[in-house]
């Protein structure tokens, strides 16, 4: 039942927060929802997708599993909060109702909204954020600019729920105010399908574990097996990523794309 992985905040901590004092340990109180995959939870700061923030999912090619990755978490949330809704804004082709029901999603709580441009997409998220009672908003908006993403960020704070934005992988090189950026790629290696998930940017101090996960042999989202010395690999990537996230993202990502 415990869907929000937040720790109880002590009175002293509350006092610090009231005076606006930033503390590194603040990260422990990140409000998140579980991704539904223990390995992915372990990887992300606060053990899940951040609530009240924008999460960007950068996809190499639509249809490689990026939606089922997300719906896994959201169907759990919909089951826990039966009165809430999940708004899906501008999905590129039509979603298939039987597949959604098979994932455990009650379609009666999932309104779809078709928009014509980015302005309308952001507008309708803003409108809905005033209504409350949402599990999450899922937006397809490859062309959303920084201003639009900031507005989405504000809407997420207002609605106190996560907003997920699907964009193309080549946007990874652009700056983004999103709190969490995940890249999803898929390759055929020796005739087997390998889906890979990489954290491009995440909130929190340098302690965030930046790593990648993959699906291999049909077992979803594990740490990659080829990385033999796991601890040293993590340390190495920490050093690399703890600087300005956005800028590093571009350079590091080009290597990922070509692999």
């Amino acid at each position: 039942m415990a869907s929000l992985n937040s720790q109880p905040i002590s009175t002293a901590e509350a006092a610090w927060q009231r005076f606006g004092v930033y503390r590194a340990s603040h990260q422990a109180e990140l409000l998140t929802i579980s991704t539904g995959w223990p390995a992915l939870d372990h990887l992300l700061p606060g053990d899940g997708y951040p609530v009240g923030a924008v999460t960007e999912l950068l996809v190499e090619c639509p249809g490689i599993g990026e939606v089922s990755l997300l719906l896994h978490a959201l169907s759990n949330q919909l089951c826990t909060h039966p009165s809430r809704r999940l708004a899906i804004i501008d999905p590129p082709p039509t979603l298939n109702a039987p597949a959604l029901i098979q994932l455990g999603i009650d379609c009666r709580h999932v309104p779809f909204i078709a928009c014509r441009n980015d302005g309308e997409r952001v507008w309708c998220v803003e409108q809905m954020s005033t209504a409350g009672e949402f599990v999450a908003f899922v937006v397809w908006g490859d062309t959303l600019d920084t201003t639009a993403l900031r507005r989405l960020q504000l809407a997420a704070e207002k609605a106190a729920c996560p907003i997920f934005v699907y964009r193309h992988l080549h946007r990874a090189t652009e700056r983004s105010p999103a709190a969490l950026r995940l890249a999803v790629t898929a390759h055929l290696v020796d005739g087997r399908l390998h889906q890979r998930l990489k954290v491009v940017k995440c909130r929190g101090p340098a302690g965030a574990r930046i790593d990648s996960l993959m699906i291999a042999d049909g077992k979803p989202w594990r740490l990659p097996s080829e990385q033999r010395d796991l601890s040293s690999g993590m340390r190495a990537s920490n050093e690399q990523w703890s600087e300005e996230h956005c800028d590093v993202a571009g350079s590091a990502f080009s290597t990922l794309g070509t692999r």
């Binding site: 089922s68 109702a97 999932v110 309104p111 409108q127």
Partner: protein, 479 residues
Amino acid sequence: MWLALLFPHWALDSRGAMASQKALALVVDSSLGRRHVIAASEAVARSGVQRLMELADAQLRAPDACVLERRADAESAALERLAGWAWRYSAQVHVACESNNVATTRLVFEIGASLRLFGGQRALIARIQDDLADFGYRHNAGIGDTPDMALARAHAPRRLRSQPLARLPLSCLALPSGTLASLQASGLREIGELLSLPSAMLHKRYGAELLECLDRLHGFRPHGLACYRPPQRHITRHELFGAVESVQGLAFVLRRVFIELGAVLRGAGAAIQTLKLALIHDQAPTTRLTLHLSAPSRSADHFERIAKYRLARLDLVAPVLEIGLATDQLRPVEPDQQTIERDNSAATTPENWPAVLDRLRARLGHDAVYWLHAPADHRPERASRRAEQPTDSPTPSAAPRPLWLIEPPRPAPANLRFISGPERIETGWWDEATSVRRDYFRAVDGNGRQLWVYRRLDDEAATESNADTPRYYLHGLFG
């Protein structure tokens, strides 16, 4: 206790309340052969124009005034709407609008039973006055123990209104004009003087009619007024004061229309779900708009916001002269329940979902918001349907279905690697156009996408003879 409201300038106020205060306007009635003024805006009245003055005379005094012809049917329709508003304060409402005597356009209703609800007489009267000021209706009000007494007070000149009934002039009573003239000729001035006369003598000289009138004044006889009943639906037409050419101007006018509609709905304890607007142009055909609300509502603000978003999508083909408004059936609403405890979070109560849904649909179009449901059908293209409201779905079969459906199916890319299949779907034979005879496979393409592809069984015979590879069609993605 009864409250009587008289509307001396109803012929003008009922048409364009906002405009009547600013503009120079007067309304003339030409039904009696000569044209005389029956209502004037405040500015015109100040320049000396009086009721029943001849038009030529009035135009001498106010040469700039815009002259309007009287429209009796619109007046009575507007009065009917006002009765709907009064229904909010009382269950006994009486309206009357006599076409030959415009001075008697009146609204009489019982307020004694409502005093406690609205916090006493003073508060109730203040509220009613505020409402009427919002509508822009000039009025004379009077309160009395019987409807006739209240009317007599309302007829009285302003300076005498607080006097006891006996001190009011005789002309305040609704007496036949002949009787009134005869009474005045016999030297009677005030009502008290008339009341002190012996009734047997009055009956002998003036007939039973005068006595009946006096009995009604005291409440010795039933008042016999016909009570207003709220209508089943609300259909009105609003004439605009001038042609409105912009959408912004229209929104401004609609605001007044919706305030009135909101008052009627609140009065009737009802809500509506569909609102039809007709924008009537001079020459172009009427523009019709339909606003569907996702939940019954009676809030004028909500209507206004929805209409604003809807109008933003509209291109006005021609200036609008008149607005028609029609609602669906008025349905009773449960009053909003609120907790007795004072809740601090009440200040930031989120708006409810139906209101937001209406706004989305008003701006993006009604079809832009939809829900999916899965009808029981084996044909994949028919197993996922859009609906404009949440719809129940039966439990689908356990066979794997892709998350994305690609409609219409297109030729699949080459270099497929098949994972599982085939799943044969062969149905719909009763319908030639949507008959399905296919073998479905799951496959992976070079980009790492999991595809749902099919092969048509009808093609098979042909491909075998041609010794060609079978053609595959992409119908979905396991995204």
